[in-house]
Structure formats: C-alpha cells, structure tokens
Amino acid sequence: MTLALIIRRSLRQHLLSTVITALSIALAGGLLMSVWVVKQQSQATFTQVNIGFDAVLGARGSKLQLVLNSIFHLEASPGNVSEADYLYIKHHPAVKLAIPIAVGDNLRGFRIVGTIPELFTAVEYAPGKKFVLESGSRLFDPAAKEAVLGSFAADQLKLKVGDTFHPFHGLIYSPKEQHADIYTVTGILEPSNTPADKVVWIPIHGLQTMSGHDPKAATDVSAVLIQLRSPSAGFRLDMMYNRQGDRLTFAYPIGAIVADLFSKIGWFDQVLTLIAYLVALVSAAGVLVAIYNSMSARRRDIAILRALGARRRTIFGAVVLEAAAIGVLGMIAAFAVYLAIATGVAALIRAQTGVMLNPWTLDPVMLWAPLGMIALCAAGGLVPAGVAYRTDIAANLAPTS
C-alpha cells in the first residue's frame, strides 16, 4: 500500500512531466512495435504469396522483376512471351498447369490483367482456398468484353456488377490514353488478401486485341504462371531456360526470389529498428531527466518520509518504481500508437500490393517491447533514485531551532 500510494501521489504531483514523458515512451514503444510487426508480417506474408503457383515464365530479364510484375502486379513487364513458348510450357510433361497473363492497361491506376478463367476455377491461391465470386457475380466470358474485379479494386473504383468502363493504355493512369473498348463488370471477387484483390481481370484475348495495341503481338502473353508436378521439375526447367537458353527467364521458386528481395532491403529494416531503439533509449533518458529535474522539489517530501521512518531503500525503490510506472503508462498508450502506425502502414501496403497485414495479430514483440521499455525506464530511474537514497534528512527538514 505504502509504495503504491507514494508512487501514485508522486505521479499526480508531477502530472505534466508524467504525461509528457509517458507520451514520449508511447511514441517510442509504438514505433518499435510497429516497425517490428510490419517487418515480420510483411516478410512472412510476401514470401508466402505465390497465389498458388510454383514458378513464372517470362521474357529474359530479372527474376525479381518477373515475380513482382506477374504475382504482385508491381513494376513493368520485362517483355513478352510468344504464343509458341506459352504452348510449349503448357504442354511440358513437368507442368501441371500453366496460366497466361497479359498486362499493359489500367483502369484509373488499377492494373488490368488479361487471363483465362482457369485462374479462378482451377487454382488454389492458398492451400484449400480458391477465389470466390461475390453473390450475383459470374466469371467473364473469355470471348466477351467482360471483367471480374478484385475486391479492393472494386471498392476503390466504386464499380459493381453491371457497370461499364473504358480501359486506359499503359500501367500508369493518363486520361488521354483511354481505349475505345467498353467492358462490363460481371463479377467481383471476395477478398483474398492477395495481390489479386487490386486487379481488374479481363479475358486475355481482350487485352491482346485491345484497340490501339500492336496487332503483331496479339498472340503474345506477358508471363505464364506455372504449377509444377514436382519440385525437381522446377530445377530442370530452371536449368533449361536460365542456363542453357537465353530468350526467356524461369523464376523459381517464387518464395525464395521474394525472400532474396527482403534480404537485399534488410539494411532498411535494420535502420528503422535502430531508429526505434534509439527513440526508446532517448525516452528512457527522458524519464531520468524528468525525475532528476524534479528532485530538488522532492527532497523535502523524501526527508519527511525518512523522518517518519521510511528506509533509504524504500525511497530508492519508490523512485525506481515510479520510473517504471511511467514506463507502464507509456507502454499502455504505446499500443494505441502502434495500432495507429501499423493500421496506416497496412492500409498503404494493401493499396500498393493488395496484401493485407493484420495489426491485431499477436506478436512476441508485444510482450518483450513493453517489458524491455519498462525495464529501461526503471533503469532510467536509478540515477534519481540514487540521489533520493542519499538525501540528507536533517538538511531538508528546515527550519532548525
């Protein structure tokens, strides 16, 4: 009761500095947790995103660019794959399924991707999960000018079944680049939390033959998404396309290529984490400074407590626990800061990639960051606690007679 009362009253007596210091801890803790969770979740999520495919075949170039373009719908296509090459891989005995895609148009910034209906009927984008159309929807007719929209794209574009639109040429939206073709929305996909959610899907033939596109490339595809019959087949095809051939690139395995990207940008994570650690240290120093600066005002109270019989170690413990209590208050608020930052970042990542991070998922950082931060704050309280420990009772109980 005694320590709790002393701490509670002291926090209240120094309310302004308590609140400001706790807020700085909240910012530091929230930043630390959000950097960590976003880093962990994005790495785990992106390296697992392959929407049900083992490999991608595309024009000669970077494997990473090919994966980003065909799986994540980012970056430009490295080039085209001829119909002959597509048919060859489609009928290769090691290939279980080959789905062609074609890119090159957009609808107000959302990519239009041409493909075949099998992408939605034959593929599990995650184990046991197939793309599902919302009720009242149907797949596009491969021969018609129809479209199926990913849930995020439909929401952002405010399109519903029955609406029509003109595609725009290129991957970047320009109102001047509008195609004459008119497409009708026939279906909207339920959210899959994959990059497919931010895509406007149309029949591949429609994209290949869109008004204004080069008729010579009307049978080419941008990439072929491939399911293999066995992992060993992937290495054989890798050997065939990447080492022996020089026209095409076979990106396999997809997860490893994305993981390679994360290892290349790992320094950025480390910089962010380092900044978060530094902010945490500065906040703990803030606790030290806040309590230390108020020591002259506290000396009389400490002397009175000592005169009443409080031991030095009680006073020392009260100051350390007060510092830890500021840490506790700060870390409670840090969860709100974390949710604000993580939700914002998740929305940004969702808009850019279609991949949804979940800020509400529990992570070990939500245990060790608060504990670490509270311990740091308590450590910050050691210096003023030392000053409190050495407080001279008689000198601070003036006046004397």
Binding site: M1, Q13, D301, L305, R312, I393, P399
Partner: protein, 226 residues
Amino acid sequence: MSLLSIASLQKSFVSPDRERKLIVDIAAFALEGGQQLALRGESGSGKTTFLHLIAGILAADRGSIRLDGRDMAELSEPRRDRLRAEAIGYIFQTFNLLQGYTCLENVLLGMSFGPGADTARATAVLERVGLGHRLHHFPRQLSTGQQQRVAVARALANRPKLVLADEPTGNLDHRNAGESLSLIRETCRENGAALLLVSHDPQVLAVFETVQDFATLNLALQEAAS
C-alpha cells in the same frame, strides 16, 4: 529505568570555513515514561540537532541514546528508522505535512513505516484532534491550526512511547498556540507517551511543570560562551 537516557552525547558539524564545530555535548539526560518536559533554548542553540539525535535522524559522533532499552547510537540506520517509526512521534515547527497527500493519507503513511497502516486508528486520531470532517482534505485546504492538528495526529497514530515536539507552536497565532499545546499534552497523556518539547516561547514554557534550560544541559554552548 528511564524511557530515554542519554550519556556523553556529542555531535559536531563541519562549518563552511572547514572547522569542526561541536554543536551538542550533553553529559547526561533522562526522561521517564509519560513525563512531559520542556527544554528552553534560543534559536541556533542546537535544540533541533538534539531532537534529531534522539530520533535517530542524525547519528551521534559519540555517546549513547537509550530509548526503551535500545541504544539508538548502536543501531544500524535501518533499525534506527524502524525504531523511530515505532516508538517516536515527531511534531515539527513547520508541521512537515506531505502536501500531495490527504490528511488521512498523511497519518496512514506515518503508520505504514511502523506497525502498519490502520485506517480505523488513523481516522480515530484525526477525529480526536477535531478533524473527522477533513479526512480527505489536502493540507493546502486546511488552516494553519488544522495543519498543526494533522501533524499531532500523525505523531500519535502509532501510539509512540515518546513524542518530540520542536517549536510546535512557532507558526501559530496566540489562540491556536494555546489550543494546540493543550491538545499535544492531552493526547500524549491519553496515549501514555512521554513528551519532550523544545521552545524559546515563555508562554509555552509556562504551561509545563518541568522546564529545563538547554543552555545548562548542552556543554557545547557553555564552552562557546566561555
């Protein structure tokens, strides 16, 4: 055996010009259980230092301070703190109430370092000093006289054997001083506590049956005068 017996007690301080100066030098002093004694002394005569030594707030350079059979000078600091909390009530001239705590909390906190906080007892002593209706008021919300009464309640809450009062009426007007002094003496009597009060105020000293001159007790003052 006396409740408090002091022998060959000395305490010196280093002055700003780095000379060690003897402040308290008392050959012998005793106080019986339940006795009420006033020490007369001028400001700066070392009265507060003497009370601080008895309370264990200051450690003596030499000599013994036996309180209820235990020698304060031989105890470790934590044991002195414990003995002070359990056996001594201290009433300061400036009351030394904790401003961030209510009246009740001030009394409870004083108790918590001794035998333990007892809300019923704390409430009872505050009621006894006439502050039953001010339990949850903060010191700044009370008059000077009421603050003094909180200090009295805090000093007596642990049922101490000895109450030390350092110029307890120094900050009060004439009427409040008289009431406060009566209250201190009565409550000490009711609780069976001895009272050692130091003051330079003749009106305060006149109330006591036994008054001792601190100048004759403290040999350091005699040496300084000679």
